[in-house]
């Protein structure tokens, strides 16, 4: 069994966060699910927290990406007028091409 999943995305890619709501432990917060952003960095690969949380080895390790979102895409109200960005580290299994 390979120890690390292949890296699928690169810096600059437009990605969308999957809109899943599994009951098991996962690291993606609700407020970016279904939202689109841009990959700014590859953070490396790490043991998969979703299986490690239940006693698994966490293999194959999962690539982790820093994704940049526009705050105006994430929130309504005052933040909708903001030019600010939000940076979040998200695991590869949560991302698909936008």
């Amino acid at each position: 069994m390979s120890t690390e999943d292949a890296v699928l995305f690169q810096r600059g890619d437009e990605v969308r966060v999957k809109e899943d709501f599994p009951n098991h432990h996962h690291r993606t917060p609700w407020f970016v699910k279904g939202k689109s952003g841009r990959i700014t960095d590859l953070c490396g690969a790490f043991p998969n927290p979703e299986t490690r949380a239940y006693g698994g080895t966490g293999l194959p390790m999962q690539p982790l990406y820093r994704v940049e979102f526009k705050q105006s895409d994430l929130w309504e109200g005052e933040s909708a007028n903001s030019s600010d960005k939000l940076l979040m580290d998200i695991y590869q299994n949560w991302l698909e091409p936008a």
Partner: protein, 96 residues
């Protein structure tokens, strides 16, 4: 509705509480306990988080930060057959 631990973006008009506070001795001990358990490879951070996130919502809201750690560590040590609930309860009774 997001799960109880998934707090980012929850509506809240209250100002951020910026007060500093010292940790009680038992809280430092809890942190050290997790460190020792981690050295023994008995519990990893992901399991601790899963244990905390699976607390019933009303318990999650009631317990302080290290009380949540403690509840999770207890749940995991029982799950992994390191201790039984009876052993833990007996020790608590002994200490009271």
């Amino acid at each position: 509705m997001p799960a109880v631990h998934d707090r980012g973006g929850w509506p809240n008009d209250e100002p951020i509480d910026r007060t500093e506070h010292e940790h009680a001795y038992w809280e430092k001990s809890t942190h050290a306990l997790l460190g020792a358990i981690g050295e023994l490879r008995m519990i990893v951070t992901d399991e601790l988080r899963r244990g905390i996130e699976s607390l019933p919502a009303d318990e999650y809201e009631k317990l302080s930060y290290y009380e949540k750690w403690s509840a999770s560590i207890e749940k995991l040590l029982v799950e992994k057959n390191v201790l039984t609930e009876e052993e833990i309860d007996a020790k608590v009774r002994e200490m009271l």
